[in-house]
């Protein structure tokens, strides 16, 4: 068991992150949602406490506990008043090693999980993001949703959850990370009292092919009647952590849509007034990442707005950025670096980022220097190497519109536009096949 402790006694508060091996990528095909459902089940009673007693015990401490299933690890997160931290470690030990996982509770969890997926359709922004993630990654394992599909959730049995817990969780944590009003010696003592010792270091993540962009432009349109806005996400896979070009891409992203003064916001909101918000981002891990632009667009400007946005993206990839834009983005990023270390919890987050993503130990110390070294030429080369306008995926929720349909047929070209009418049951969330 490894430890990361950031002591900061400024406030009577402790943040805890207990890292367990394996995450949603461990779900076997056809059993998507297994890790998430197991993590939910862990929070429904443990040790001698049934669900009601378990929740009362957490409330009694003023604790907030959440289990987050990432792709490669599961993280039990907890926040608590420091005077109650020791007691909370005991509860977390029960959660990890002695969960009750009872049949009645699991059946209820499954019903709730399916209903939650149905509710997702009510929120256009959340819906478009979830579907885009599936469409974007195509046949890559990243396309399999961690929360599962409705049919895979229904098919999971209590034995699947118990098996997942026994084989992936019950061995104990790989890493215990704690920040706040606490001493390292206390963290180690409490951890050894609560958790089974697991030896070894954080393993390299399971080997998967690097995610790649599917050739061609594809558009997936989820039709909903009566929308006043068109919600969309547009993007493609790109490089992951460890690639030196990421620094240049980060600056490029700031110029396009990572900042309020970026090109997208200035053109689509400030000059045209077609949107309240548009932003671009790079979401990356050690295998690869995704570049994406997301926007809620006045429905009356659907086709024109997407065309305008697309034009800005094409120009950005082909022309790169100006020296003035480079200097501006560098200034912003370097000045705002101070915020990354404001609180003990943020400093702990940085340490976890290094540990879990196998970043170099001096990643933070060298970050500013690497940002400073980026040139206009680096940005242009990186954009043209890692982003290809010919291979892009667009997902949108919008009302029926002949103008929008004509535009998308031209943009995506023959056969690459899929329209899901509102009346049709929405399969991407319902069914894995």
């Amino acid at each position: 068991m490894q430890f990361r402790v950031v002591s900061d006694h400024a406030a009577p508060w402790v943040s805890i992150r207990v890292v367990l091996p394996e995450g949603s990528l461990a779900d076997p095909p056809g059993r998507e949602g297994q890790a998430v459902l197991t993590s939910d089940a862990l929070q429904l009673g443990a040790g001698d406490r049934r669900r009601e007693e378990w929740k009362e015990a957490l409330d009694h401490l003023g604790a907030d506990v959440d289990v987050h299933v990432a792709r490669d690890v599961t993280i039990v997160g907890a926040e608590v008043l420091s005077r109650n931290a020791e007691e909370l470690f005991g509860l977390l030990g029960d959660l990890i090693h002695r969960p009750r996982v009872e049949a009645e509770e699991v059946a209820r969890l499954k019903r709730q999980s399916v209903a939650d997926l149905e509710q997702m359709s009510d929120d256009d922004e959340g819906l478009v993001a979830a579907v885009h993630s599936q469409v974007l990654w195509g046949t890559h394992p990243y396309a399999r949703p961690g929360r599962g599909w409705m049919d895979t959730i229904r098919s999971l049995e209590i034995t699947d959850l118990r098996e997942f817990h026994a084989s992936r969780v019950s061995d104990g944590p790989l890493l215990v990370a704690v920040a706040g009003d606490v001493r390292e010696s206390d963290v180690k003592e409490w951890s050894r009292g609560a958790f089974l010792e697991k030896s070894g270091t954080i393993p390299e993540p399971r080997t998967l092919p690097a995610p790649r962009a599917t050739p061609g432009r594809r558009a997936t349109w989820l039709e909903k009647a009566g929308r006043t806005q068109t919600q969309l996400v547009l993007g493609c896979p790109t490089v992951g952590l460890g690639n030196e070009d990421l620094y240049a891409l980060q600056i490029a992203n700031s110029v396009l849509g990572g900042l309020y003064t970026g090109r997208l916001m200035q053109e689509l909101r400030e000059r045209r007034g077609w949107t309240y918000g548009v932003q671009s981002q790079l979401g990356v891990d050690h295998r690869g990442g995704a570049f994406s632009v997301s926007m809620g667009l006045d429905a009356e400007q659907g086709a024109a707005g997407i065309a305008c946005c697309w034009g800005l993206i094409e120009d950005w990839i082909s022309e790169g950025i100006t020296p003035e834009e480079l200097e501006f983005a560098q200034s912003h990023l370097l000045n705002s670096f101070a915020f990354a270390q404001e609180t003990a919890s943020q400093r702990l987050g940085n340490a976890l980022e290094i540990a879990l993503h196998h970043r170099p130990a001096d990643w933070l110390e060298t970050w500013c220097g690497r940002i400073r070294q980026v040139t206009v030429e680096d940005v242009q080369r990186s954009l043209q190497t890692h982003l290809n306008p010919a291979n892009m995926t667009l997902t949108l929720v919008a009302s029926p519109s002949a103008e929008l349909e004509d535009f998308l047929k031209g943009w995506a070209r023959e056969g690459s536009l899929r329209i899901h009418p509102a009346a049709e049951e929405f399969r991407p969330l319902a069914q894995s096949a």
Partner: protein, 436 residues
């Protein structure tokens, strides 16, 4: 400069909520022109939070111009006499600052977080736009489209937004200053006129209606000098805050049909204003009913009967009144009425029988934890100080409220529940389109 420094009030109470190395005091300074400045030195990180709180929110929107306070929040980012169109954002982002703003019923808050080294530049630019914002037809027409888009996103295409708008209009009445939406009605936004906007600025954007809050690794004396240099010469003028009665009637029920997967319920009950000590009893009631993991309605509706997928509650205290809001998302096939009836049954039970001491103890520690969480960052401290100073006139009400939570008894909780039952609340029932 008239200086009134409150050194006795510490950010720390015996539960030690304060940053230990920070000196622990909040200084309050007032200028002849009415400007208020709060400073709290916190050396934990080389950053500073700089908040500008205006004591005007949507409850001061002129009749027929609902949404004006929010619209003006947007205009403040566009242009001033010295800063060209968009220059404010360019300057701030280049400094690495994170800026945003928010408008609510009683206030408008412009908040920035920046590296401490740039504090002087931030004071300069914030004073400039406060005093010299440009309000012309170019700015109005450009921002009007953006705000209409915001309304589409937050209300027209959002079931929760639609329900909130109707709920507040029902509990207060659409003509009450708390009853119309902060974003404004669409037709009012479309018709904002230049003169009305300028008059709004003239009436409310005055130093005497402004509280600045500076929290971070700063030298308080230097901050005072900088603020004096940039704000001290602004002309003072009195701002009148007429009071209004919040006397909503109860028992109203509104039904609507939405694009949703299952029925929903939103309910609102009158609650105490911000700064009222009895507010603590309502917050404990909320924790016992809805907020805690072990809350009664979470257990009965979500876990045991599975009648609901989600339940939540909020106590929203305002300057003149407050609201206790309850939101339920029912399970597919379960009627909204079933959720509403369950809420009333539980309120009735508490009104008659009270609650257990252990429930109060759990609620108190959860509220204490929430209070600590709110002041973990410089921005969080600035928010709590500014919100209370701007709304009640005294930032110390934040600490008084935390103390009051510790003194809540079952009688206080019963009184809150009885008030809800006696009033009857306002209820919005949302049906599923196609099934209604």
């Amino acid at each position: 400069m008239n200086e009134e420094t409150i050194r006795a009030q510490r950010l720390v109470e015996e539960r030690s909520l304060r940053p230990k190395g920070a000196g622990g005091t909040v200084e309050r300074h007032r200028w002849d022109n009415g400007l208020t400045l709060l400073i709290h030195r916190d050396p934990r990180a080389p950053i500073v939070a700089y908040h500008t709180w205006l004591g005007v929110g949507s409850s001061r929107d002129p009749r027929g111009s609902t949404g004006m306070a929010h619209f003006f929040e947007h205009l403040m980012f566009r242009e001033s006499e010295r800063l060209s169109e968009g220059e404010y954002d360019r300057v701030m982002e280049k400094l690495g600052a994170q800026v945003n703003a928010a408008t609510w019923l009683d206030w408008t808050c412009f908040h920035a977080k920046a590296p401490r080294a740039h504090l002087s530049e931030i004071i300069d630019i914030e004073a400039e736009r406060l005093a010299h914002v440009v309000v012309g037809s170019t700015q109005l027409d450009g921002e009007r489209k953006v705000v209409l888009n915001e309304r589409q996103m937050r209300v027209d295409d959002d079931p929760d937004g639609q329900m909130d708008e109707i709920l507040w209009g029902t509990i207060f009445g659409r003509e009450h200053p708390y009853g119309w939406p902060t974003l404004g009605w669409k037709e009012d936004i479309e018709n904002f006129g230049l003169e009305a906007c300028r008059a709004f600025h003239q009436e409310w954007y005055a130093p005497s209606n402004t509280t600045l809050v500076v929290v971070g690794d700063v030298d308080p004396e230097a901050v005072c000098r900088d603020v004096d240099a940039h704000y001290g010469s602004m002309s003072g003028r009195p701002v009148q805050h007429p009071s209004f009665e919040a006397a909503p009637s109860g028992g109203d029920v509104v039904e609507l049909v939405l694009d949703i997967s299952s029925e929903r319920v939103s309910m609102a009950f009158p609650a105490p204003r911000l700064g009222a000590l009895e507010l603590a009893g309502w917050e404990v009631l909320n924790e016992i009913l809805l907020g805690a993991e072990s809350a009664r309605l979470e257990r009965s509706l979500v876990e045991e009967s599975e009648a609901a997928l989600d339940v939540s509650g909020t106590v929203e205290p305002l300057r003149h009144a407050g609201i206790f809001q309850i939101d339920l998302t029912m399970s597919p096939g379960v009627s909204a009425e079933q959720g509403r009836d369950a809420v009333f049954s539980e309120l009735q039970r508490i009104a008659e029988l009270g609650v257990d001491a252990c429930e109060i103890a759990r609620a108190s520690v959860l509220l204490e934890a929430s209070g600590v969480q709110q002041i973990l960052t410089a921005g969080g401290v600035a928010w709590m100080l500014g919100h209370h100073e701007c709304t009640t006139g005294d930032f110390r009400d934040f600490f008084r409220h935390l103390e009051a939570v510790n003194s809540v008894t079952t009688l206080h909780v019963q009184q809150a529940a009885r008030a809800c039952v006696a009033h009857g609340g306002a209820t919005v029932l949302a049906r599923v389109r196609g099934e209604a």
